[in-house]
Symmetry: C2
Subunit: 679 residues, 2 copies
């Protein structure tokens, strides 16, 4: 085989000039590596070096720098880029361990590093020999083998081969998937000159790199997490492979914190809590991704919607209700059909002769609100028109992507469309930002950042004129800057009709969720030919805002379930108080308490089972009921209740009136500070 | 031609015995007519006689009774059956008038009497000669010709002809539609022995009869109402005919009252008021029969739903929310598909390989509530389970049948399903009746009757065992009898899964509407295999009630709009009060009043236009706003408002607090008694 290193071309200067991040410059001999540069700075830096950023690209720390001038930054474990390198090497080390344990007939296919996954840090997909199967029980053995490889401190060596040589090499070691992948690379890049391969001892793998300089640098802070089946190339017509997931960090503390976060997330899993607390149901007979709200979940949803409706009325929004289907032509005008057809439920086609177009299940409420705007003449005096609806929409997500309430096919939007003059636009955006912040603050979601989604200038998926996009993007930037909000700009993340502000919220265990959205749209008003009569008596075009402060009640409540671990604040709790008689003797007194609380408008349950009081308290606590009113002889005599809080425990005795008024006050405040003792 | 009269068969006795409604019997000679019988009773009865009921069937008063024994009742204008006879003859008289005026080349096709139509009493469809067209302007001329025919007192003579003779007769007078109709009759009834024909002078028409004895009896209380196009046999591929609608009564007072009712209905037309008051929108671009609720209508809907939700909570109902689509198989199990396919929107068929069944837009909420019931184990202690939802359903009604909010394709049901033990069933039905009565009483719809819909024993459209049907029908009868309610039983009017109680409500102008429904169902629990564990620890099958006290908010509100003529009681009114400053000088004071009322939770509007106070009052009155607070110098000085009510007019001055508290009290009472003056 012909190593590319051996055929290096002639350069003008056989010298390397390195510029470091602090601006200083160094001259080096030809063939110098970043590791050498680091050694020149300090032995400590050299020992911490993971990789190097050379002219903006990540490279192996041991790679020779081309002749010429380069910006070089040494990457250590403190740099954000380092984790991906670590995890990539971890995948190779795991693959070598599997080969050592299960023999050379094991084929290894694809093994990426994961950076933004909440649970996993890397995986590798294996096609195991027929006699072999790997389960969770085998993971400690593989981990032990990995630890051995780490101990061996095997160097990772980058080699660049011609595609034919790379195929020959892979054929030699019997890795047919890799040969297929090299063929694909050739198809994608005509004139592909080389394929990079990493060798660590006897193990060789195709890989773009970079990698840690040797397996010893992987250290001990890794763990294999689970085994799953995965189709080759994700296609169910292909062979099922064995995927092993793992995670890796630079130190054991980080690993421990990660594992703890995962444990915490499992306890808070809204799919599990949803079943346990009777909040919602996913039913294969109804269809995947189509949640049915059970009574307890319905109450949370109705409370949340009811509160938001009140806020909308205060802010001059007008409620509307629109159908869940509309003629196909409406979606041709909007641009959803046929462009977004892959994400839509199939059309309902009428029999010929029905004289009507087919119908589409609505993926968005906008065209309906637009038709309402258009149904009567508007003057500048009527603007802004703010039409709001909790509108349920349907999108055909792939079934593999569905999850609980957070990835569904049928969901509500706390939607509104604001039609205003261009002059009114920025004030309206600001008021939308304000409402979104109020929603998040009310639910105690105070850790969030703002992302501005811009068009991708190279894509053709957007509708409308370039100047409309410029205007809208500037409007958004202007408002966010004026409000002094932290924001990032992300090209390619706009809606197809306009740019947007997204609120990305961190929950209490550190996961990020995209929730509220505010989108500016000069384009649909054009496509639907919307107008208003301006002060000069001529027709003008309004601009639209699409916005949803919660995003979707389904998704929002799914996240709230995890955020609160099912223990909702009083105003949202499906059952706000449980009345627990210590024995049947006090049932009549308990019924009176129950009745009085029910009549005060509280959601209250009476546990009249023959169980012991301890069991009753446990059950109510499991159901995350905020308050328990325990009643026995002492309470009946003194006309009081003994109050327990689900987390604060015993709050002492208080009169029925004090208990009732305390609950009503806490409910009205929408807070989550528990009732004060008031003996 | 051979008249059937001339070939009468030989009977055993050539004698007629007549039994009258009072039980008395009379012997008559063979060939006696009911008219003769009436003459024998009194000349007045004979002169008032319209037709006769012979052995339960309506006959011409002049027809000879067959030999033998007969029950005979003389029908006069006082009998309910008389109106149909009158109107049927009116249709013939109108047809003769049209032929006299527009020539014998006019073809007359079908001309039925209408009894339950709110507007019309009869019509006739004509195929006019090419040179002729008839418009509303021509109706007085036709009415005058009809009056002439009435004056001529032409006898109507029944003749029974063999089908061939009837065709020959029709051919002679050039009536080709009639020949086609005789052909159809022959196809429908093999061995058809005769066709009855009525002759009045030169006019002859095929008709089942009976008719008035002569045209004079039609009198003067008739009126032609309108002209419309109508396809022959209602098929748009056929020729368009000219339909003339008329109405006829026995006396002029009844006619006048009818015309007044129609005028009143026009003023109350919910389609017109819906547009005028900004309540709802029907938009061809969205699709026929798919109403969009505008802000004012949405408020009415939300108030009504909010009130009903509160009543449901009090009664132990639990809210749920379910999707608008479900897998097709769910509807195969329920029996909706394919049996009711013609009334459904087309299915959404997935591409092959999606590994899922197609989806159906839901025509009913039941299968979803059933799946919720089935999602957890139930014991007899958990029953009754009452799941409620304002669920929007979709049914593909023919576009020609759609009308405003009362006949639509997309509508909400104020639905609930109660799952209970057979022992609990009657108490649950009773409580459903109670809730329905509360709904009607709250909206002032106090004139209603109850109809029990039973299965049609000859039909196969019903699911389930006969003993289930017997049980359910008996349960319903038992409750209605126990409650002492007026009811009629109507075979063939059951739902496909069980019998039902329907509330048929009369609005303030006398039209009947079917609203609330309560349906008992032993069958879907079987089809979906529902169970609960009984006290003996064995599985039992629950019984279901499907019920909707309003029926559908769309339809209900459509009717309420007409019932209230758009002037909704305060609690439902989209705008509850308008603040009207008499001039710009008092705008600041008016704003303060507006703000105070808004903060008290009232829906209030401020008219800050430069218009005169008279115009402002007119506009608020037109918008049917219950209260106006007029404010000028006197009011500002004395810190009061001058209150006007939309119908009661000036109520005098009162303090802001008195006005506000009065409105809040009226709103809370859900009544429609206007505020008392409180100077």
């Amino acid at each position: 085989m012909v190593y590319r290193d051996f055929v290096r071309e002639k350069h003008e200067f056989d010298m390397v000039t390195v510029q470091l991040p602090d601006g200083s410059k160094q001259a080096h001999d030809s063939g110098v590596t970043a590791l050498k540069v680091a050694e020149g700075i300090s032995p400590r830096l050299a020992s911490a070096a993971i990789a190097a950023e050379v002219d903006g690209k990540l490279k192996d720390i041991t790679a020779a720098l081309d002749d010429g001038e380069h910006n070089v930054r040494i990457i250590t474990s403190r740099d954000a880029e380092a984790l991906e390198v670590l995890r990539h090497t971890a995948a190779h080390v795991m693959a070598e361990a599997v080969l050592r344990l299960y023999g050379n007939r094991t084929q290894y296919t694809i093994g990426p590093a994961l950076i933004n996954d909440f649970q996993y840090g890397f995986y590798y997909d294996f096609d195991l020999p027929e006699s072999v199967s790997i389960s969770t029980d085998d993971l400690p053995k593989i981990e032990a083998e990995m630890a051995k490889i780490v101990g061996e401190k095997i160097p990772l060596e980058r080699i660049e081969l011609s595609p034919d040589d790379a195929k020959a090499e892979m054929k030699k070691i019997g890795q047919s998937y890799k040969i297929e992948m090299i063929g694909d690379l050739e198809k994608e890049n005509s004139g592909l000159s080389f394929v990079s391969v990493y060798r660590q001892g006897n193990f060789i793998d195709m890989c773009r790199g970079p990698h840690l300089p040797d397996t010893g640098k992987l250290g001990k802070a890794f763990k294999l997490m689970s085994v799953a089946g995965a189709y080759w190339r994700g296609d169910e017509n292909n062979k099922m492979l064995t995927r092993i997931y793992g995670v890796a960090f630079f130190d054991k503390k980080e690993l421990a914190a990660h594992l703890e976060r995962i444990e915490e997330a499992k306890k808070r899993d809204h799919r599990v809590l949803g079943r346990q607390l009777g909040l919602f149901l996913l039913d294969e007979k109804v269809g995947p991704g189509l949640p049915l709200w059970l009574p307890n979940g319905s109450i949370i949803r109705m409370e949340l919607e009811g509160w938001l409706r009140g806020e909308l009325l205060k802010r001059g929004y007008q409620p509307v209700h629109t159908p869940h289907i509309g003629k196909l032509d409406l979606w041709r005008t909007s641009g959803h059909y046929p462009y977004y057809e892959h994400g839509l439920f199939p059309t309902m086609n009428l029999a010929e002769g029905d004289g009507e177009d087919g119908y589409l299940l609505k993926p968005m409420n906008c065209p309906f609100h637009i038709r309402i705007y258009k149904s009567s003449q508007k003057s500048y005096r009527d603007l802004p028109v703010r039409l709001s609806e909790f509108g349920q929409v349907y999108r055909f997500e792939q079934s593999g992507e569905l999850s609980g309430l957070t990835r569904v096919r049928g969901f509500t939007q706390d939607d509104a469309h604001i039609f205003c003059t261009p002059d009114q636009l920025e004030a309206e955006i600001e008021s939308c930002v304000d409402l979104t912040k109020l929603c998040l603050a009310t639910l105690g979601l105070n850790d969030y950042r703002v992302r501005i989604g811009l068009r991708d200038p190279d894509s053709t998926k957007y509708v409308g004129k370039s100047e409309n996009w410029d205007r809208a993007e500037n409007n958004i930037r202007h408002v966010v800057q004026k409000l002094g909000m932290n924001f990032t700009e992300e090209p390619g993340e706009a809606a197809f009709y306009g740019p947007k502000i997204d609120f990305v919220v961190k929950d209490c265990i550190g996961r990020e969720w995209q929730l509220g959205t505010i989108q500016v749209d000069y384009n649909l008003p054009e496509r639907f030919e919307l107008e208003y009569t301006a002060a000069d008596n001529t027709p003008h075009r309004p601009v639209m805002i699409h916005r949803a402060p919660l995003g979707s009640p389904e998704r929002f409540i799914g996240i709230l379930i995890e955020h609160f671990a099912g223990a909702f604040p009083l105003w949202l709790a499906p059952v706000q108080a449980a009345v627990l008689p210590v024995s049947e003797k006090f049932l009549a007194y308990a019924q009176g308490i129950h009745q009085a609380l029910h009549e005060a408008g509280l959601r209250v349950e009476l546990d009249d089972s023959p169980d012991k009081i301890g069991a009753k308290i446990r059950r109510a606590t499991m159901q995350k009921i905020p308050y328990m009113a325990v009643v026995g002889g002492r309470e009946e005599e003194s006309n009081t209740v003994a109050v327990r809080h689900r987390t604060e425990g015993d709050l002492g005795a208080m009169s029925l009136e004090a208990f009732r008024d305390g609950l009503l006050a806490e409910k009205a405040s929408r807070g989550s500070t528990p009732l004060q003792v008031n003996a």
